[in-house]
Symmetry: C2
Subunit: 148 residues, 2 copies
């Protein structure tokens, strides 16, 4: 069993794509993030949903639970408009850009995938063959294989 | 719309539960982690799948991709037996125990949930009413609500 056989589809965006579209993909596929690739289709990082929320929820609301409680639906609408006209690249934190991406080739074994995730504390590993992203393998999928 | 209406079922274990069972729950429900509660049912942390992998994959294999490549299926079986006879508490890293848990009450609004996740960089928030855990709300679910 190799990584290419285990890879699941995962939403994928380019650095220059619209930030709103990236958020829509996470919402539509109910995934905790999207894989971000550069202009040559090389995976750069995973943009997590929490980072999108950090961008849309004003900093003073994040810091004050009492304030977030009184925010109404119009406030929520205003939050989301902060994504308009922004790129995925603008959403990424310095840490997202700096961190080593958990990634393996399509021929990687189950243990190789598990070792990379373990070392990088990552909930998933991106599988790619050359300049093509095949999908991701999740920690829960690997555990299913290891325990069976 | 309140957190209690949005809460999804999520696997839940006690600190003293068997580590193997916790791993099985993640695998069975294909969730990236399990919520860990103490003897009084108070949520303590979320045990991520990657932390289980850190525990089962020997450190020298994590550090050496060439070594992980030659690990065969018997090696994988030996890895998994490391979970036997261990508790969830033994699996948790110092960081898992130290980190503030993303948690809200059942009456929290969408923006409150989003603010907590954003502040703590968390992919989910645990919802509880008193000493009862109602489930979790994920970042992708919140984005779905905020964008619609």
């Amino acid at each position: 069993m190799r990584a290419r056989d285990l890879a699941e589809d995962y939403p994928l965006v380019q650095l220059t794509d619209d930030a709103f579209t990236a958020a829509e993909l996470m919402a539509k596929f109910r995934r905790p993030g999207v894989v971000v690739v550069d202009a040559d289709n090389r995976p750069v990082t995973v943009l997590p949903g929490s980072q999108v929320l950090r961008f849309v929820i004003p900093r003073y609301v994040q810091a004050d639970p009492a304030l977030s409680r009184v925010y109404d639906e119009r406030g929520a609408d205003a939050c989301v408009t902060r994504l308009r006209g922004r790129t995925v690249n603008e959403l990424l934190s310095a840490k997202d850009k700096r961190c080593e991406l958990a990634e393996v080739s399509g021929t990687a074994t189950v243990i190789e995938c598990a070792a990379v995730m373990a070392r990088l504390h990552s909930p998933l590993v991106v599988v790619r063959d050359g300049d093509r992203v095949l999908g991701v393998v999740t920690a829960s999928h690997l555990l299913e294989l290891l325990l069976s």
